[in-house]
Structure formats: structure tokens, C-alpha cells
């Protein structure tokens, strides 16, 4: 399948900061707070447009606070854009960090079932995948142990195994990765993780990855976007973009 999978059309995102949100009902009544309490607007994303074709891997780089994660959240649909629109075709997965929904007081088996359903799998599908996930994590003998007793390395293995298998199950057309690449853990597992990740992103899906690792951007992306204060500063081949980013510093 070819053609444009993601079309980002002049999106902007405004956040109201400093306003007295989270003020409880009691406080509001007591102080007769006016609804238009002092606030500032922050333009986290300003007039950003680009397209991503099928099979294309696009990297997004920029300093902290330049709007990378916000951009991804808007494309994923977690945030609604203030202006402009995003069009996507096909199934989409969005990932930021590992271990969403991990509950330390549950066993590994229960955690796999839970994290799988949080990642959008039906219980039957996760049960079918359970063996494969446990096998990949290399934690077979701990399957009925509670996760709070796991070492951090074991937790990394568990998180990554569930994540990668859930993603593969969805057979996504669009993958959005926010600072997630590879697995961590020891050398063996890292290698295994990167192999799986490569297999996933090169399977023909459109990928947008946010990363601070310029090496990864250069290695995998066909196009890279440099964000600065919410605007596209540069968009082009990764080498060029990375050069600009380093020079701007």
C-alpha cells in the first residue's frame, strides 16, 4: 500500500498555563474566583505541517520543551489540536515509555494479561500470546511470582516483551514512538530488543519517532524534523537536520 498515511495540516496547540486549575470547589466558592483568573497562553505547537507516506520513517528532534511529545500526542489523538487538523489512515499505535499499567502487587502472568488489555488486545488474544511473551522475556520460572519482587532488569524485560508483542499483534500501519527504542537491560536482551524493533518499524508501517539519540535518527529515518519552540525549524534528510540541530546549540 502506498500513499500518504499521516497528513498533518497546519496544526497549532495552545495551553493555558498558570491559571488556577485544580482549585477545588470549596476554594472557588470561598474566594469567589472569577472564571477569567490570570493566565498565560503557551503555544506549544505552531503551524506545523508535514506528510508521512506508507513505509516512511520520520524522526523528530529538538530541545526539551520544543513540542516533540505534544506533536506526537496530537497525532495520536490524546490531545486535540487547537487549530488545524490531522488525518491518519489505518491502525495506529502510540507508545511513550514502557510499563504502562504495570501493577507491582500482581503476578507476572496477571500483569501480562492486564498490560495486554491496556494495549488494546482482547483477553483471548493475550492468552494465545502468553507463551511467546514469557519465552521472549526469559522469565519463565517467575511467571507466578509477584512483580514487586522483580529486579529492575526483570521489569524491563517484562515491559518490553509485552509491548513488542502487543504492537506486533495490532499489525499497525502507523507507529508513533516517543523516546522508546530498543529494550534496555543486559547486552543480550538489548540486542534481541533492537532486532525486534527493527523488524517492526521496517515492516512497511509509517513511523514517527521522537528521540534524543541522534544515532538512531540517522540510522533509521528517511526524513527528520527539527522542532524549535513549537515550529518546524528544518525538515529534510536526517544528516542535514542533525547538523543543523548541533549547530543551533
Amino acid at each position: 500500500m502506498t500513499g500518504t498515511r499521516i497528513r498533518v495540516d497546519k496544526i497549532s496547540k495552545k495551553f493555558n498555563i498558570d491559571f488556577r486549575k485544580n482549585e477545588g470547589l470549596l476554594a472557588r466558592v470561598l474566594y469567589f474566583l472569577p472564571r477569567s483568573s490570570p493566565k498565560r497562553e503557551l503555544l506549544a505547537i505552531e503551524d506545523v505541517s508535514f506528510d508521512v507516506k506508507a513505509g516512511e520513517i520520520v524522526g523528530v528532534i529538538g530541545k526539551n520543551g520544543s513540542g516533540k511529545s505534544t506533536l506526537l500526542k496530537i497525532i495520536a489523538g490524546v490531545y486535540a489540536p487547537s487549530f488545524g487538523e490531522v488525518e491518519t489512515t489505518g491502525t495506529m499505535v502510540y507508545l511513550t515509555g514502557l510499563g504502562q499499567g504495570l501493577v507491582p502487587r500482581l503476578t507476572m502472568r496477571e500483569n501480562i494479561l492486564l498490560m495486554g488489555s491496556v494495549m488494546g488486545l482482547a483477553q483471548n488474544d493475550i492468552k494465545k500470546k502468553l507463551g511467546e511473551i514469557v519465552e521472549f522475556s526469559g522469565l519463565k520460572e517467575f511467571i507466578d511470582s509477584k512483580v514487586y519482587q522483580f529486579s529492575s532488569g526483570m521489569i524491563t524485560r517484562l515491559n518490553f516483551s509485552v509491548m513488542i508483542h502487543s504492537l506486533k499483534h495490532h499489525n499497525p500501519d502507523i507507529i508513533l514512538l516517543d523516546e522508546v527504542f530498543g529494550a534496555g537491560g543486559d547486552i543480550d536482551f538489548q540486542k534481541k530488543g533492537i532486532e525486534k524493533m527493527e523488524e517492526l518499524i521496517r515492516s512497511g508501517a509509517s513511523v514517527i519517532m521522537v528521540s534524543h539519540s541522534l544515532e538512531i535518527i540517522k540510522k533509521y529515518c528517511q526524513k527528520a524534523i527539527l522542532l524549535d519552540k513549537g515550529k518546524i525549524d528544518f525538515m529534510g534528510v536526517p544528516e542535514e537536520t542533525v547538523k543543523r540541530y548541533l549547530n543551533n546549540k
Binding site: L25, L26, V78
Partner: protein
């Protein structure tokens, strides 16, 4: 939107709701040898206290008073438990909601499922009482009709509360006070022979009335009562779904 898509969406919402509810249920009983007993302790303690105050609270004797009381308590308890969880349903899962593209309805519905689980245990206690007092057990089979309307009503209220709770973080305290008012204005431990205005506008009055007529007095409630139950439940459901649907897009920014 085609039907097939709606079907899959509903299925995935229910699936995730059930997983979340199961996990919370497990965590609540984790490491406790008495397990589900704790679910029952609070309503049973309340029941015993009110039962022992019987002479003070009721001048006119009520037929099958212990069952009358227990049924009122557990029906109200379902409402109280489910709606209290819902005030924190969105805010309490901020981590997940901010970092995944995920349906938000399961976080609300799972709380209701959790409350229904514990309600089932309470109903089992009730059945033991019915057995002891030799009330016919047949009519409890029709209780799910009332329960159905009650759950629809609770879903509606929960969606409204979880939306408000996303923006205002002390809604739980306000809701607790309101629940106490509602509890006292519902004939749980007393009976009303006259029509009192506060009862007439209280939805819980009709649900408890309907449940009692069916289970204790083995008669079909007035059609009027069913109609009022349906109006309250589907009315609140419509408002709840509308409010939640309208505001859910910006939830992730506020938590």
C-alpha cells in the same frame, strides 16, 4: 459510523473494563485471608446498628423489617460505592490516559463493575435472610429487572461525576456530603406511608421501592414505578454520555 465498528468498539470497551475491574477486585483482597468478607462487613455492621435501634426509628411495625432494612441498605450501597469510585475514575488513572491512545469509558465502567461484584455478595447474604424468614425465593429472580434500571442510572451518574471530577478535584468530598443527605432522605430504615416531597424527587426511592415490592412482598410494582425508573435511568444515561463525550477530548490535558 457503521455497525461493525461500533460493535468492536463496545466489545473492546467492555473487555478492558472487565480486566480493570478484575484487577482492582484482586488487589483489594490481596493478602487478606478473609477476602470478600471485608466487602460485607461494612453493610452488615450498619445493618446490625440500625436493627438494634429499631424501637427508636419506627413507631409502626414494618413487615419483615430485617429484610426491608437490609435490602434498602445494599441497594443504596451499590449506588454509593460505584459513584464514589467514579469521582476519581479519570484523575486516578492519569498516567495511563496521558500516555496511551486508549478509550476512556473503561475507567468509569470498571468501577461500576467492581461495585456490582460486591453487590452480588450482598445479595447472597440477602438470600440467606429470605431463606431464614421463609419468604419465597422465587421472586428474587425478577430483581435483575430493577437492577438493570439501577445500573443504567448509575452509569449515567458516574459519567457525569467522572467528568466533573476531572476538572474539580474535591468533588469527592462534596459528593460524600450529598450522598449522606440522599441516604437520609431515602426510606431505608424507616417507612413512609404519606407521600413526602423529598422522596418523590429522589430516584433511589423508586429503585428501593421497586426492589422491595418484588423481593419481599412478591408483587409486581406499579407500571408507574417502572416508568419513573426508566425515565430516571435513561435520562441520566443520556446526559452522562453526552457530557462525557463532549469533554473527554480534553481530559488528557487537565490531569
Amino acid at each position: 459510523m457503521n455497525l461493525n465498528f461500533a460493535y468492536y468498539k463496545a466489545k473492546s470497551i467492555l473487555g478492558l473494563s472487565l480486566s480493570l475491574a478484575k484487577v482492582k477486585f484482586k488487589l483489594r483482597n490481596e493478602g487478606s485471608y478473609l477476602g470478600v468478607f471485608w466487602y460485607l462487613l461494612s453493610p452488615l455492621a450498619m445493618f446490625l446498628i440500625l436493627l438494634s435501634l429499631r424501637g427508636l426509628t419506627n413507631k409502626n411495625p414494618i413487615e419483615y423489617y430485617p429484610i426491608y432494612l437490609l435490602l434498602g441498605l445494599i441497594v443504596f450501597n451499590l449506588f454509593r460505592y460505584a459513584t464514589t469510585i467514579s469521582t476519581n475514575a479519570i484523575r486516578g488513572n492519569a498516567g495511563l490516559i496521558k500516555s496511551l491512545k486508549i478509550n476512556l469509558e473503561p475507567f468509569v465502567i470498571s468501577g461500576i463493575m467492581q461495585a456490582v461484584f460486591s453487590h452480588i455478595f450482598e445479595v447472597i447474604i440477602l438470600v440467606l435472610f429470605l431463606f431464614y424468614f421463609k419468604v419465597s425465593l422465587l421472586c428474587i429472580l425478577f430483581y435483575p429487572v430493577v437492577l438493570f434500571f439501577l445500573i443504567i442510572f448509575i452509569i449515567g451518574v458516574s459519567f457525569i461525576l467522572s467528568t466533573i471530577g476531572t476538572y474539580i478535584n474535591d468533588i469527592e468530598n462534596v459528593w460524600n456530603i450529598f450522598l449522606n443527605l440522599l441516604w437520609f432522605s431515602t426510606p431505608i430504615f424507616y417507612s413512609t406511608s404519606k407521600d413526602i416531597f423529598i422522596n418523590k424527587i429522589n430516584p433511589m426511592y423508586y429503585f428501593i421501592l421497586g426492589a422491595r415490592e418484588i423481593i419481599i412482598y412478591n408483587k409486581l410494582p406499579d407500571f408507574k414505578i417502572f416508568l419513573i425508573m426508566a425515565v430516571f435511568s435513561f435520562g441520566f444515561l443520556a446526559v452522562g454520555l453526552f457530557v462525557f463525550e463532549k469533554y473527554k477530548k480534553s481530559f488528557a490535558e487537565f490531569i
